[in-house]
């Protein structure tokens, strides 16, 4: 699976200036006419029965061939300004509609980075009924998922959604354990969005006392007398420092030091508790009243009193002191930076690169916006080896498909399809969130991605014109086989299917 040496000078992509005719490309790829006929007869027109297809006169996109690679790797187009901008939009957002692409190309790379980073995140619409979620009226998981997907597609500030998704995978929780009978999992999404580009340390505190997290990792159940170690371990291992940077004694010490939080009660939850007591013929719990905050509530009587030794220091701790101690560890900056780099730059980030960004991250007192700016403006982000070095997650794939088509794709369908590709939102497979890049590939998931493209196109009333989608979405850099199929295809539905289902479109 090792890739061949890549062209190191992004200004000289191997296929630059090479504009073979369709005939030349086909000849070069050894395609026989028989194969072409087969492709043409592939039945794409029957794919979407009832769809109004444009006439046969659509010109063959010869330009598609311009990036046919001559090596085993993609020919990087990143020397070109429009390809740079497209890469930014694929990674910092969820791809682009043709209009968003045009705007960004006109503005240029630097200005687009600034716009993405500096525009105040737009809040999603309220999810009806979520604040009042109760035993009888739980949040429907598909409603919650499609509410978010819908906003990923429509938001004017997609970078904020991309970062919210990043944090959802990092500080993860699932609706199964948190349960949809409280607003917690919904609140968590709102909180992550608010904190996404601020100081990491501030976010870490909000994460620790987030009601959904209190439940997901059991800190809301932990007491000084009998501490629960779940959160104390994962806050170090998965959220900040990484495995192997602390001892089992540190886990136990932090479990004591962090104990004392409880979940807040909403009026609907209080009503539930009264009803449950009535059903069981018991008196309603005393002093039961709803809380006014949407965060955990600290009960001193459940805290641990006394000094403990934690990460080498013995003292009486509280939650803020624990988090300060964690953030003071050398391991935190590289741990976070490495994860960011794996999702935004390279599946195997270079150690020197990580160190450089991590040093900068520390200097800015763990400012996330500064970190993301330094990532997007680093030479590595646009270097040739970075081209198509990352795999879109299922959510990124589906939202970018909707944007590419620039028509109304059902967010409910997207939400449902995520499960089958390995990414149900608010439903990660484990406390470590989702895997990334190559781990998304399995027979099951590749098939599900292809079927998503088929189902999406089949559900459309009419298929949008293909025009230059190969340029907007794929930088006109495609494999010989993709070029061959696109060239041999004469209707837009088929072209869209080839594009959306192609290996090229799975990458970012």
């Amino acid at each position: 699976m090792q890739d061949a040496p890549r062209p190191t000078d992004p200004k000289k992509p191997a296929a630059s200036g090479l504009k073979p005719t369709r005939r030349q490309v086909l000849a070069a790829s050894g395609v026989t006419m028989a194969a072409l006929v087969a492709a043409r007869l592939a039945g794409f027109k029957q794919l979407t029965p009832g769809v109004t297809l444009p006439g046969e006169s659509t010109p063959t996109p010869e330009a598609i061939a311009s990036g046919v690679p001559t090596t085993q790797d993609w020919v990087s187009p990143l020397g070109k300004p429009e390809a740079q901008v497209a890469q930014l939009l694929r990674r910092a957002t969820f791809g682009a509609t043709p209009t968003e692409y045009q705007t960004a190309v006109k503005d240029g790379f630097a200005k687009t980075v600034d716009r993405l980073l500096e525009t105040t995140p737009a809040d999603p619409p309220v999810l009806a009924g979520a604040d009042e979620a109760s035993r009888d009226k739980p949040i429907k998981p598909n409603d919650l998922q499609s509410w978010w997907v819908d906003w990923m597609i429509k938001t004017p500030t997609p970078f904020a959604e991309r970062m919210t998704l990043f944090w959802h995978g990092h500080f993860t929780s699932d609706y199964r354990k948190v349960t949809p009978q409280t607003p917690y999992i919904y609140w968590q999404n709102l909180t992550w969005r608010k904190m996404a580009l601020g100081k990491f340390r501030d976010m870490l505190y909000q994460v620790t006392i987030d009601p959904g997290m209190l439940r997901y990792l059991d800190l809301g159940q932990s007491t000084g007398k009998a501490p629960n170690e779940n959160y104390s371990r994962e806050v170090m291992e998965l959220f900040t420092m990484g495995v192997g940077t602390f001892t089992e004694d540190d886990v136990r010490a932090a479990a004591k030091a962090l104990a004392g939080w409880r979940e807040p009660l909403t009026p609907a939850m209080v009503d539930d508790m009264i009803k449950i007591a009535q059903e069981r013929g018991r008196p309603a719990p005393r002093n039961l009243s709803a809380d006014t905050v949407k965060t955990g509530i600290f009960e001193q009587r459940n805290a641990y009193v006394g000094a403990v030794k934690y990460l080498g220091e013995t003292r009486q701790w509280d939650t803020n002191a624990v988090l300060d101690k964690i953030v003071a560890q050398d391991s935190v900056a590289p741990f976070i930076v490495n994860k960011v780099a794996e999702e935004f730059v390279s599946s195997a980030p270079d150690a020197a690169y990580v160190k450089r960004l991590a040093d900068n991250f520390r200097r800015t007192k763990y400012d996330m916006k500064s970190l993301m700016k330094s990532v997007f403006t680093s030479p590595e982000f646009l270097a040739a080896p970075s081209y198509r070095a990352l795999m879109k997650s299922p959510t990124e794939l589906m939202v970018s498909s909707a944007k590419a088509l620039a028509v109304n794709v059902s967010s409910q369908q997207i939400a449902r399809a995520g499960d089958g590709m390995g990414q149900g939102l608010f439903d990660p497979p484990e406390v470590g969130g989702w895997p990334s890049n190559g781990s998304w590939v399995s027979t099951n998931n590749v098939l599900a991605r292809v079927n998503f493209a088929i189902n999406t196109l089949s559900a459309l009333q009419s298929v949008p014109a293909f025009k230059n989608a190969h340029a907007v979405q794929l930088d006109s850099v495609v494999s010989q086989d993709t070029a061959q199929l696109l060239n041999a295809t004469t209707d837009d539905a088929s072209r869209w299917l080839i594009l959306l289902a192609s290996p090229e479109f799975q990458l970012k």
């Binding site: 699976m1 794409f44 059991d218 629960n228 779940n230 998931n445 590749v446 290996p503």
Partner: protein, 427 residues
């Protein structure tokens, strides 16, 4: 009448059986024919008594299964002290000796145990245990407690012993969307099937061929991964078309489980698909399925009991189905979990991450009974955890040598004390 019969080692046999499938270019033309040829070869071998048709099914109990709630020491006052609420599970346990009982929800497993079809290896673990889910999962997946290896021990087994390139159904994960770490190996071709009914192309019949063209010679670091996946997808779809017409479950599989939360794995459906792949002669050798939800940090009593009941019903159905098809003599079921749990109960009526726990080996190939040592709750280590008695790789070794008949040392890098839970081959 065993090994001399074919005059070939198992490995040679399988390679020869797959000769039609070698070379990916040949596949696009004739792939549909390969599995049946292979299947016939397997059955021919089985009728003649060659021991090369064995199948392994690994069941992952994800999250860290509490061994002390599964194979329960009876009459231990110390355990009652450590587990004020959870310890009462011993009162209803199903005794297998005077000192040990199975969880009350494991009635089906107990029945098989009484028939000599269940081996329980107690106190399985590894030196310098990790309490991290991910770290410890990796230790179990790679068969390497030093955490240096990347490939899964079963992926390695497939790569070293079978020709999976033309036969993606040699190693299959059912009921999940991604390749389980145990099966991962760059040299092995693997198939993942979440749900059988959705494992086909939408659209028209021609999509299959178009995707075959689209995913060919794909450049870049993910190219080979994409292309081999698509090739396997196309093979598998063809195979499932055939196998689904040949199979009707002969037992009742039910995923209608009232789990308090958490596990989204459809264990019964996954095992039903496993059964279909086994009994229809697809040539499957290694299967992996998962039941999650064992990370019981709080209110463990009900959660764990529900999971035990689910496991018991799914595994019982699976065994009955295989037996009804006359195939249960080929199949070894083995459980694994990244760790056990702390003997001391926490404030939330749950338990935190621990160490050693029991492994179940189920099926006709098994020599039933108890192996290893019952964990000693009166002698906990400095962290309050159990000491392990059996290295988990000794379990792997017996599966490899005794059941699959491959060279365990070549996969595990060293030898371990033999645990003879696999019946010796008939002579």
């Amino acid at each position: 009448m065993s090994s001399e019969y074919t005059g070939l080692s198992r490995r040679d046999f399988l390679r020869n059986g797959l000769v039609f499938g070698v070379g990916s270019s040949a596949l696009s033309a004739g792939y549909a024919a390969v599995p049946d040829v292979f299947a016939r070869a397997i059955f021919a071998a089985k009728q003649a008594g060659a021991q090369n048709d064995k199948v392994l099914v690994m069941i992952q109990l994800g999250g860290g299964n509490d061994g002390l709630q599964t194979v329960i020491p009876l009459g231990s006052s110390k355990l009652r002290d450590l587990r004020p609420t959870l310890g009462t599970v011993a009162d209803k346990a199903l005794p297998i000796t005077k000192d040990l009982g199975l969880h009350e929800s494991l009635a089906g497993v107990k029945k098989l145990y009484d028939q000599g079809k269940v081996a329980i290896v107690q106190g399985v673990g590894y030196p310098s245990p990790s309490f991290s889910h991910f770290d410890s999962i990796r230790v179990w997946e790679t068969g390497d407690p030093t955490r240096r290896q990347q490939d899964g021990w079963l992926g390695k087994t497939i790569a070293a012993n079978y020709d999976s390139a033309g036969h993606p159904l040699l190693g299959v994960a059912c009921g999940t969307t991604s390749v389980p770490g145990m099966l991962r190996d760059l040299q092995a071709t693997l198939t993942v099937i979440d749900q059988q009914q959705t494992f086909k192309f939408g659209g028209t019949a021609d999509v299959d061929g178009v995707m075959g063209t689209l995913y060919k010679h794909t450049p870049g670091i993910y190219g080979a991964l994409f292309d081999s996946s698509m090739s396997s997808i196309r093979d598998t779809i063809q195979q499932l078309k055939t196998s689904s017409t040949k199979y009707t479950p002969k037992a009742t599989y039910s995923d209608k489980q009232n789990l308090v939360y958490s596990s989204k794995n459809q264990l019964a459906a996954a095992l039903q698909l496993a059964s279909e792949l086994i009994v229809t002669g697809t040539g499957v050798k290694v299967l992996h399925v998962t039941l999650g939800g064992f990370d019981t940090h709080y209110t463990e009593m009900q959660r764990h009991s529900d999971l035990m009941a689910y496991f018991d019903s799914a595994v019982s159905a699976f065994y009955q189905d295989l037996a009804a098809y006359g195939q249960s003599d080929r199949v070894l079921i083995a459980t694994w979990s990244e760790f056990g749990r702390r003997p001391n109960e926490n404030a939330s009526g749950g338990t935190d991450h621990g160490t050693a726990s029991p492994v179940f080996l189920i099926g006709d190939p098994v020599k039933g009974g108890l192996y290893g040592e019952t964990p000693n709750v009166t002698k906990l280590d400095t962290l309050g955890n159990l000491s392990y008695a059996v290295d988990y790789r000794a379990v792997y070794q017996e599966i490899l040598n005794g059941h699959l008949g491959v060279d365990g040392k070549a996969i595990l890098g060293q030898s371990f004390d033999q645990l003879s839970f696999v019946k010796p081959a008939a002579h």
